[in-house]
């Protein structure tokens, strides 16, 4: 799914592991990817680790990944996890681990 110039992908249900469609999109050279979490109900430790690793790959390939429509229960997981790259994808303005955005 495409939104403006960004490729938008919905993360639906439980994010328990890597999402192949996202990985493929980044591998294909997409420059702007939006992950919509509005239908996401749960994130596991593996899911978190994949998000972090995926963002690292995206960063290496100069692709921008943004997280949007994040339910509070999921956003709280991101806040407690304190992963800098994930907070940046949520729109945090800097690398300060305690800064808030979204």
């Amino acid at each position: 799914m495409q939104t403006d110039n960004a490729q938008k992908i919905f993360i639906a249900g439980q994010l328990q592991r890597a999402q192949d469609n996202v990985d493929q999109l980044i591998a294909s050279g997409a420059q702007s990817v939006v992950l919509d979490f509005s239908a996401c109900t749960f994130i596991s430790v593996d899911g978190l680790e994949w998000l972090e690793e995926m963002l690292l790959r995206a960063d290496s390939s100069k692709a921008q990944v943004r997280f949007v429509s994040i339910p509070p229960s999921i956003y709280k997981v991101f806040k407690v996890a304190r992963i800098d790259s994930i907070m940046r994808a949520c729109g945090a303005p800097n690398t300060d681990k305690h800064s808030q955005s979204c």
């Binding site: 994130i43 430790v45 978190l48 229960s73 997981v77 996890a81 304190r82």
Partner: protein, 880 residues
């Protein structure tokens, strides 16, 4: 490359620490999504595995540490799993965990996050089982750092429980353990201060607990004890002896709540020592005590010799060079501690079956020797008592400083909780500040939760009360004929007597009623005058007080009755100010004994229906407030006001007008008081101009009299505001009649209260500032609204219209004041302006202390009050 420097070695350790912390952090994050059902399923699975493996883990712990008794370690593992589960299985630990409907409050659970936990060598597996299950129940991640001598068994327990939890759906990595290595201790130090650690949960030796508390992290650190146990002469001696043996031999004494020194009443000394001996204990001679002390106490530190911790009694005797002379195993080595107990080397914690004892000759001595042990390294931890005498138990528990004081039970297993008593099951014993800890709890799940309190706005109690019987028509004074009283005491002023009112009352009282009169009450009397009236009343022994006069007389009569009925009351105490009527500290009588009939002869204060009494004390006025001050009967007979001079009629009418306006905008205003206040205003604007034209008009006197009473009911429940605070100050300072003083500040009060306050009042019954709307409503109600062609105009929505209405109200008050000839500013009161200006600081201070200020719709700041006093000086101009 080989790490050669400490810095390089620390760097490697820090990388390992980061790894442990990262997985714990992610697990903690994921755990926030788990429901109560998820958590309970995980806890159940963990408990099951712990119960199934309790013997194996106990065996492993014993073999690794060479301490304690396998059978007892099995029991500890079961306490940490089965008993703990029984206590927590139905407890809520997710979302709303407790509701307090009566307080409109709920408590919710928030996980603490990442817990760094240390486990001791004495309880290596049971502590890990206990902390793991508690962490799961509270949705926290936990990283274990075991004692080096017990790391294999501790880590095995952690791994077993983690795998069971994982299979039940727990987040990956929520339990982890630091692998055994020679650098384990240094790694633990680094982890204690790691930024990802949210809580340190330390159980173990004093040094380790101290390190936890010094880390700068929130810590639950529970350390060593030194348990005194007092055996009183009322105890069941054979049972006490057996339970002490059970306790002290439990896991060879490794439990820190276990008995360390017995304090025994001499009266039962022979009996109990015989029991100990009969049951296989060895009682040392004084010479042997020194040999035992040399063996079990490290002479360099004064603490116990760690090589003998958890070792059997016979091994300890052997190490001390003592032959028990018995072929059966020794259970406990008992050592009489002679000499100064506080300096005895064995009066310390000994986690082995070595037990000191002393004999005492009284309860006082027993408690004092117990305190000697209690305050020798075990403050806040555990103590025990065997006694059947409840008085002795109470004295002992009052004196001793211990988080758990075990009564008639083994202190070690008793301290664990859940087995012998209903204490929370634990393997971590909080010692409070006595032990340098933050809690005296048997630490458990509630200590691993961040409690979120969600208080809902409390329902503010609003009541409406007034005088029970009110007779309101002209001629209603005839009601006195039916009054039930045998002895009446009339309190009145010389004026009432002159105007014939006193005679009207006396003529109407029942024939057989004895009547005494106190007519010395002038305007605004001091307390001394009231005291004289009380003395006269006591002589009269009346059952009814009749207050006949203006506000001062009625207010004074309320106090006369109060102190007549309750002579022990202290004026200074009942006059203490308060912020909230529902929380004030003063206690007034619930019921009055003497009947109070109030007959107002002016149309102003409304005192006949208020719970107030204003008293002049020197240069200030104090207000007393309580329902017990309400008269029982009010007679509102306008005939008594027909002869009222114009100046008093006007002054008192403006007092009533001020009451209506202040009650309307008060923070305590309600629909009930609003109706009364509005109608009182309407009646005043209707009646006063007519009375000025025809002072004898009963019809308009009646309306004005009713207006004053209605306004009195309004302020009796909604109170007044800044206008009264300022008027009280000026009135007391310059002897200005109350209504006249009120009128001087009326227009400036409306202007001040119509503006959005500089500071809002924080009072729960006033959630929205609406004073400007209330003034506009008053203007609208008394007919100052604009012509009906503008049907769409609404003062609620249209601010400009609202302002016009408020101005109209102020103009109407100005016009009425000018018509009545009442001063509308301080400058018109005849006060010397220079003296007035000099008095401003004093007036401001007095007004700021006035109770009336509490219910003003805006929080009046001292600078604002001072400014209002200042601005009230010039001759008042008609508001534009």
């Amino acid at each position: 490359m080989t790490a050669t420097t400490n810095k390089e070695q620390d760097q490697i350790l820090m990388e390992r620490a980061n790894h442990y912390m990262r997985q714990a952090r992610l697990a903690a994050a994921v755990f926030t999504q788990y429901s109560q059902e998820d958590v309970d399923r995980i806890v159940k699975a963990m408990t099951q595995v712990a119960i199934e493996n309790a013997p194996m883990l106990a065996q492993m712990a014993h073999e690794e540490t060479r301490m304690g008794v396998t059978e007892d370690k099995i029991l500890k593992n079961l306490v940490a799993s089965e008993f703990l589960y029984h206590q927590i299985k139905d407890k809520k630990s997710v979302g709303v965990i407790q509701e307090f409907p009566e307080l409109n409050l709920v408590e919710m659970a928030e996980p603490m996050g990442v817990i760094f936990a240390m486990s001791p060598v004495t309880n290596p597996t049971s502590t890990v089982i206990f902390k793991s299950i508690c962490a799961a129940k509270t949705r926290n991640s936990i990283i274990f750092s075991a004692h080096l001598m017990a790391a294999d068994s501790s880590n095995t327990a952690a791994k077993m429980l983690y795998e069971a939890a994982l299979a039940a759906g727990a987040p990956k990595g929520f339990i982890s353990w630091v692998d055994k290595s020679s650098r384990l201790r240094r790694l633990s130090e680094l982890m204690m201060t790691h930024p990802e650690v949210d809580l340190i949960f330390a159980t173990g030796g004093t040094q380790m607990v101290k390190a936890a508390y010094s880390s700068g992290k929130p810590a639950l650190g529970v350390g060593s004890g030194n348990t005194p146990v007092y055996v009183h002469s009322s105890a069941n001696v054979p049972s006490a002896a057996m339970e002490i043996i059970i306790s002290k031999t439990f896991d060879n004494g490794t439990e820190c709540p276990s008995e360390q020194t017995l304090i025994i009443d001499r009266a039962i000394s022979d009996e109990i020592m015989a029991e100990f001996k009969r049951n296989g204990c060895y009682i040392c001679t004084p010479d042997e005590v020194k040999m035992v002390a040399d063996a079990v106490i490290d002479s360099r530190t004064g603490g116990m010799n760690y090589r003998l911790v958890g070792q059997p009694a016979d091994l300890i005797l052997k190490n001390a060079g003592i032959d028990s002379g018995s072929d059966r195993p020794t259970k406990v080595v008992l050592c009489p501690l002679e000499g100064e107990l506080r300096h005895h080397p064995l009066a310390v914690e000994k986690l082995m079956p070595v037990l000191g004892y002393v004999f005492v000759d009284s309860v006082d001595e027993g408690i004092n020797r117990s305190l000697d042990i209690n305050y020798a390294g075990g403050t806040g931890h555990t103590a025990g008592i065997f006694a059947e005498d409840e008085n002795v138990i109470e004295r002992f528990t009052t004196a001793i400083n211990a988080g758990r004081i075990i009564v008639n039970s083994p202190s070690s297993i008793g301290g664990l909780g859940g087995v012998y008593n209903h204490l929370n099951t634990t393997l971590s014993f909080g010692c409070g500040t006595g032990g340098g800890n933050i809690t005296t709890d048997n630490v458990g799940i509630k200590n691993l939760i961040n409690f979120k309190r969600v208080p809902r706005r409390k329902n503010f109690l609003t009541t409406f009360s007034t005088t029970r019987n009110i007779y309101i028509n002209p001629g209603s004074i005839d009601q006195l004929k039916t009054l039930k009283c045998s002895s009446a005491f009339v309190i009145t002023s010389p004026t009432a007597s002159r105007r014939g009112h006193l005679a009207m009352v006396q003529e109407r009282l029942p024939e057989n009623c004895h009547v005494e009169v106190f007519s010395d009450l002038g305007p605004e009397p001091e307390f001394e005058t009231i005291q004289r009236a009380i003395v006269a009343l006591r002589k009269a022994k009346a059952d009814t007080i009749i207050a006949l006069g203006g506000g001062s007389v009625l207010d004074a009569a309320k106090l006369v009755r109060l102190f007549y009925d309750y002579p022990d009351l202290d004026l200074d105490q009942i006059a203490v100010s308060f912020l909230d009527f529902n929380h004030r500290m003063q206690v007034f009588p619930k019921e009055m004994k003497t009947q109070l009939v109030a007959i107002p002869t002016t149309s102003g204060t409304g005192s006949e229906v208020t719970p107030y009494s204003v008293l002049k004390q020197g240069k200030r006025k104090i207000s007393l407030v309580d329902e017990c001050l309400l008269p029982d009967v009010a007679i509102i007979d306008a005939n008594l006001t027909r002869s009222l001079p114009q100046s008093i009629t006007v002054d008192t009418a403006f007092d009533a007008l001020t009451h209506g306006l202040e009650a309307l905008v008060s923070t305590f205003a309600s629909d009930y008081t609003d109706g009364l206040a509005l109608e009182s205003l309407r009646l005043i604007f209707e009646a006063l101009p007519e009375i000025l034209k025809n002072p004898q008009s009963v019809l308009y006197r009646h309306k004005l009299h009713n207006a004053a009473t209605l306004a009195g009911m309004a302020i009796g429940n909604a109170s007044v505001g800044i206008n009264h605070a300022m008027a009280h100050a000026v009135g007391a300072r310059f002897d200005i009649p109350h209504g006249r003083a009120n009128a001087a500040f009326l227009l400036s009060t409306i202007a001040y209260n119509s503006r959005v306050p500089t500071k809002f009042v924080s009072i729960p019954c006033y959630p929205l500032w609406i004073a400007d709307r209330k003034y506009a409503r008053a203007a609208h109600f008394i007919g100052l609204n604009e012509k009906q062609e503008r049907q769409d105009l609404s003062y609620e929505k249209d601010e400009a219209y609202r302002i016009r209405l408020i101005t109209s109200l102020a103009q109407a008050i100005y016009d009425l004041g000018r018509l009545a000839g009442i001063p509308l500013s301080v400058g018109e009161l005849g006060i010397d302006p220079e003296v007035y200006l000099e008095s401003l600081p004093e007036l401001t201070e007095t007004a700021m202390r006035d109770l009336s200020l509490r219910t003003n719709p805006g929080y009046a700041l001292p600078t604002e009050v001072a400014q209002l006093f200042f601005e009230a000086l010039p001759i008042r101009q008609r508001p534009e």
